[in-house]
Symmetry: C3
Subunit: 316 residues, 3 copies
Amino acid sequence: MKNFLSVNDVTDVDALISKALYIKSNPLAFNTKGFGKRMGCIFMNPSMRTRLSTQIAAKNLGLDVIILHAGSEGWAFEFQDGAVMNGTTVEHIKDAARVLGTYFDILAIRAFPVFKDRDEDYSEQVIKQFIKYSGKPVISLESSTLHPLQSFADAITIQENMPQSYKPKVVLTWAPHIKSIPHCVANSFAQWMSNWDKVDLTITHPVGYELSEQFTKGAIINHNQLDALKDADFVYVKNWSSFEDYGAVKCIDETWMLKNAHLSHTNHAKVMHCLPVRRNIELSDEILDGEYSLVTKQAENRIWAVQAIISEILEG
Amino acid sequence: MKNFLSVNDVTDVDALISKALYIKSNPLAFNTKGFGKRMGCIFMNPSMRTRLSTQIAAKNLGLDVIILHAGSEGWAFEFQDGAVMNGTTVEHIKDAARVLGTYFDILAIRAFPVFKDRDEDYSEQVIKQFIKYSGKPVISLESSTLHPLQSFADAITIQENMPQSYKPKVVLTWAPHIKSIPHCVANSFAQWMSNWDKVDLTITHPVGYELSEQFTKGAIINHNQLDALKDADFVYVKNWSSFEDYGAVKCIDETWMLKNAHLSHTNHAKVMHCLPVRRNIELSDEILDGEYSLVTKQAENRIWAVQAIISEILEG
Amino acid sequence: MKNFLSVNDVTDVDALISKALYIKSNPLAFNTKGFGKRMGCIFMNPSMRTRLSTQIAAKNLGLDVIILHAGSEGWAFEFQDGAVMNGTTVEHIKDAARVLGTYFDILAIRAFPVFKDRDEDYSEQVIKQFIKYSGKPVISLESSTLHPLQSFADAITIQENMPQSYKPKVVLTWAPHIKSIPHCVANSFAQWMSNWDKVDLTITHPVGYELSEQFTKGAIINHNQLDALKDADFVYVKNWSSFEDYGAVKCIDETWMLKNAHLSHTNHAKVMHCLPVRRNIELSDEILDGEYSLVTKQAENRIWAVQAIISEILEG
């Protein structure tokens, strides 16, 4: 694997899940693979699970890892080509990426969307510039449009909890939120499920919250949540803002927040969320603290997901 | 030892001090005890000595340690059960602690009091929720009401400087400050000295600064500072805000700031402070830079205190 | 080497460059030299290259390193002797340095100038107090007036790209900027070039931007940029604010920003800058992205520069 920006960088989703599950049962199986190598993790935005799981995975592989919080440590990057830098940015990504390419063997980058210009966010120029100018393999720790490590961990979690005798129905449902939230987790989950032949995907959301078709193609889309939830084996809960009216919060219809009553329509569905979750806004206490929640297991699987990916990158 | 929240988690204070002093003379004595284990240190508030000493101690034990500055890295936790999270908090402690419990073998937590509701601060719900939801051993790096690693380092320092022929008189004296300061260090020092049969404790402070009796029981309390200092062997200097009028700064009587003249009433007393100290507000330059100050030694002993505690936790 | 604050701590510049180049070709040559030792890096100001290169170098030497961002982690130090600390500072450097001296074998400090009082900044009291009170070797990671690790990396880079048959002409040119920028890089570069007998130094800047003579003595100073650039082999580009009218931005004459046209006057000069650089303000895209730019190589050489210095300090 050269870079890891999306499921499109994965040759065989099933084989990758198997690798992650093998690592989960043998965390130190490849503990010298990273010896003498260094990975730089550059965070433009806050992180808890992503940063911790990456540090743990790197350590398990014998890889040195150094964290740079570009935001909170006061380093604002410029991303526009040709910019006259007379504003608040202090260093162009070109220069930073070239330098980081000499310092590290692998770069891992988190850069959320800016929500000013949809085309710009969706062009993924930030992470692409890191690849172009660093000359080193790049792992996405969540970019403007996708969060592939999360989706990979989600797929691992579904695999672990999957019925043996039939193809499960997976439902991605929009949930309310008070803020304008990126599409990354939803886009990426839709893309992974569509690229994995072990599940069937249905997406449900209020009218106005259509995701970009480039990620949802192949999925059933249903604007009636209760109808969509019928016979679901897994329900993935996530808020996202509008794609059409880019970044807008169109409605915060509270009835879309999942409670136990919603689950009665499902096939004893397991409930998933990437965390952090705003309790009793996005998802109810009764579900999060109930027996069907997989959210902690998803978060734990972040370790094995990123460890499998770093391992693939180290193998080239 | 299962958790370390206060001196109540210590079976034998003398034995623990001996262990710390043994480690001090042999820092690498147990340098494989932590092998293959990971500790997560979660700081809700700033730290210098606590963070550095913990990292050093963990390294000496062969334990991996990862630091998370929940505050400055932009992660605000919710602590209220049942909260409808439509405000500024982004993740409930329940969810975070459950995840951190899957990432780490030991958690170490710093969470200062909020000073909004005394009962809530004094219930220590923050650190108790980390224990409850993580399912892993928790070490307090200073909680709402106590700072047990500081007090343990203080006890080690007193032991090292103690007279051989008699039981020393230890005086905890209130000192002026310009801000509303937690009670943690004072509560915890009082509690440790009362649970250690090698010293006699006197507490002195202006009227209105009475500490909670749950921590001061067994100590002599005297509102006349000079009288209290008489024949003291150790003087522990610390500001704290009011317990009764919770968090209030009742007076800032400058005469309570220790100068050399105060020490003439003592038995050549050694002077202690946990640092950081506001010079010439809490404590005078002449004492801090003089021969009787133990403050640097106390800070150094933070390493051996936390190393002894982690070692105990690793032993279960 | 006892401390590293400037080129004055270097006995033989050529020998030190050779050492760095040897390490560059054998990064792990001395990888047990730091075993069992600890270095504390204290950053009062933001850093990217300095922090990363120092962590990488320390790791290559087997040295433990712990980073403290005193600024962003909420720790404001007091530097005035005798201060009555009733303001925003929470700990005196005296107390912090004494403690850090017990925690670490080497301290590395970044503390930019305050720009309030020139004499105070130029007295370098901050870093001198760390030396005095910690009792441990101190490495400057950029102080009020100098950035010696940058200049050492610059000298290494010049050595690597130097003509064999003659003594090259090195020109340090002032460049426009929108902010009040410290003199450190310019002072330090001038001082290193003047103390290194392999190059001739010319300095060019608009009238009003004279640097302190203590650092520029021995260099030719020419206020006509194009004339100064004539036959240059290396052009070092850097903004600095006024020394005379301390910290003032006297002019931002855009014609001083180097473009390819300026280079036509030179001897195919290589162009240098310490980074971060404000593109199209300090230096043009066409030069930074062109074949004569050495900026990425300078940044990479920061690793080998600091690794050579730490190695010297470890040797005492």
